[in-house]
Symmetry: C2
Subunit: 94 residues, 2 copies
DNA sequence: TAGATATTTAGATAAATATCTAAATATTAT
DNA sequence: ATAATATTTAGATATTTATCTAAATATCTA
C-alpha cells in the first residue's frame, strides 16, 4: 500500500475523466481516446500511468486493448480517506 | 466543485502526511514543520497549497498560525470516489 | 503476403513542481 | 525601541510532467 502512484495518477484531469468513463463498462483505448482532444499517444501515456497505479486493468483482445476500472484500488484509496476521518492510520503506509 | 486543486494537493507525499498529522488536532506551522526534514519555507509552501485546495483551514493566533483539517472538502472528495462506485456523476464537475 | 487498423514506444520540448537560501513581515518580550 | 521568534514571500534551480510527431509492434483482412 504505497499510495504515491495512485495519488499522482489521480492528479491529472484527463486521467480522472478516463476513470469516470470506465465507471459503467470497459472501453478500448481507441474509444477512450475518442473522448478527448489530445493525441492517441498522449492517451496511451495516461493509460499507462493509470495502469502502473493499478487503477485500471487491461486485457488484450485481438487488435484491441480493453481497459476497465480496478475497484480494489479505488477501495484502498477510500480507506486512506477514512483514516483522515478518525480511523486508524499506519504512518508507514503513505 | 472543481477538484483539480484538491487532487493536485493530494499528489505530494509530504502534503498527505501533513493531513494525517492534523487528523487528531490542529497544529501550528512550526509543529508541522518539525515532523519533516525539509526547510520551514518548503513546509510553508506545502501548507499554502493545502490551503488553496481548502483541505486545511488556518487561523492566526498571535505569533502562531494554526492549521486544521477541513473535513468538508475531505467529504466532497469522498463523494467523487463514490461516483466511481456506481453513483451519479456530472461530467462538468471534474 | 500486403495493406489497413489499433495501440504503444521513443525522442523532443515547454510548462509545472519541489526545494533551497535569503529576505520580508508580524508578533511578543525585555 | 530592540531583539528574538514564527511564518511567509521572493528568486533561483533541478526535476518531473504533459504533450506532440514519428516510428515501431501487433493483429486482422483481402
Amino acid at each position: 500500500m504505497g499510495f504515491q502512484l495512485t495519488f499522482k495518477a489521480l492528479s491529472d484531469p484527463i486521467r480522472r475523466e478516463i476513470l469516470q468513463l470506465l465507471r459503467t463498462s470497459p472501453l478500448t483505448a481507441g474509444e477512450i481516446a475518442a473522448h478527448f482532444s489530445v493525441s492517441n499517444a498522449t492517451i496511451s501515456h495516461h493509460l499507462s500511468i493509470l495502469k502502473d497505479a493499478e487503477l485500471v486493468l487491461d486485457e488484450k483482445q485481438g487488435k484491441y486493448i480493453t481497459y476497465e476500472l480496478n475497484m480494489t484500488v479505488v477501495d484502498e484509496i477510500l480507506g486512506w480517506f477514512y483514516t483522515l476521518k478518525g480511523g486508524d492510520f499506519n504512518e508507514k503506509d503513505n
